[in-house]
Symmetry: D2
Subunit: 151 residues, 4 copies
């Protein structure tokens, strides 16, 4: 059903290189664990300093990881020399961010030359259960030839 997802040969290097420059991902302890054309996964262990007032994973931390997953899923399909900018996203919080480990998956729903749309899912991963805790829809922009903007 989805449109063909064609990535340039160096897509994975470019995604990894750009992700490594996201200092906020380092701050929260997020790792890039999968990168296929149009699909990116990020993993995050629970930490006490990432929580909101009820000791669940903060919605903003969930958003940060989902935004990175959705944005890099889109970036993986962009031509060399592009940069990715998030135009907007929406997050629905479906269940408390309770768990020892979290998985964030972003996938391109609609590729495009200027605008791409990705959908993301956040899961709390336990020993015996995987629970969907949030979803995101994100609109991304392909930026080309803007001075100083890469990745």
């Amino acid at each position: 059903m989805p449109e063909a997802r064609i990535a340039e040969p160096d897509f994975r290097e470019r995604v990894e290189e750009s992700f490594a420059r996201q200092a906020a991902m380092k701050l929260i302890g997020a790792d890039l664990t999968l990168c296929e054309p149009g699909i990116v996964e990020i993993e995050l262990p629970f930490r006490d300093d990432l929580t909101q007032q009820h000791n669940f994973l903060h919605a903003g931390i969930i958003s940060a990881a989902l935004d990175a997953a959705c944005g890099y899923a889109a970036f993986s399909l962009m031509p060399q020399g592009s940069a990715v900018l998030t135009i907007e996203f929406k997050v629905n919080l479906l269940a408390p961010g309770k768990g020892e480990r979290f998985l964030f998956r972003g996938e391109v729903t609609k590729p495009g030359r200027t605008i791409m749309v990705s959908d993301g899912q956040a899961f709390a991963v336990g020993d015996t259960e995987v629970k969907l805790i949030a979803t995101m829809t994100a609109t991304l922009m392909v930026v080309q030839d803007r001075k100083g903007l890469q990745g």
Copy 2:
């Protein structure tokens, strides 16, 4: 035009106490700087470890602070014994998160017994300029008498 905003006498203490329990706000260096009935402001100095790949404030960090501002704006109008949960939010990123200091303002657009809606604005604050960099619309839930959930 907005509906009357009536807060209980201890609203400010309850907001401050709950905000203080948001470990993620401490992690990113955010301070609660204003709390009026239905209005909350949060401030955040720029830090290199809060950035995305172009060295701007990460959209997820912007979302974290806007979510707290919108959520606590709603919580300030909730009756004693309530807890606030974010159901969903949408963020539009209007300009790069470039600046030395950021201000996040959340304001209740629609109070309610079960559901509240807040709108938020994020500003980059410079010496001579204040620039709108993002907006949020958030839907919040008033949770009452749920064991272990407070604030």
Copy 3:
């Protein structure tokens, strides 16, 4: 992966009866064509009086049909005596609303006692091609025992 979707025996009659009372669906020529627990499909033939300025299906008409599909998908899982209210939705328009016939599918992503979340997809259906033209995420409320509100 999705949570169990348990509907009461009369769910289909209740959905059909409520849909039949949506005068706006009649106005735009939309038909309810499928109703399973947590899933609803609506079909709509193209008409010249449903268009925007470029002669494509108007985003508001797409939203009307997607809202009905998402709302009734949720309603199909609600207990007898409930009414469904849309709290909010977001629509991404992925391709022009060009085609002879359109299919709108709503599916419950997260059931709940008070709040449900549905995701919807809009397709332009041609003789040889089915094209995804829009997606929706909708947050619905289960309303019970509110005087005069049913269905």
Copy 4:
């Protein structure tokens, strides 16, 4: 606070001409009643055939009028020869669409060369009261030199 809104001299004619081509606005009985640079208002009398199952104005009809108001607010600031496309919008339904007449106001929050963001408000207008019933945030695209796409 908002950025300067500079419209070309013929902005009003272009908005009126394009609105007149929106057949869906005719179908629902909506009139363009105000057009200033970056601001558009649309009015709509209540009609029984515009309702959902509780006899309130259908969320899809509210979205159609808000989308037009937000889209044309943006279009009013676009250069000659442009066309406006809605990328996405989010609607929050704050109160039932109950009333004899409705006013929809769209205003540009962020102008731009490629992407614009508008915010909209829907009001039920009575003899003695004006009630906010819904809000929209919409992301619009400036399309130039695309064959067959104008207005």
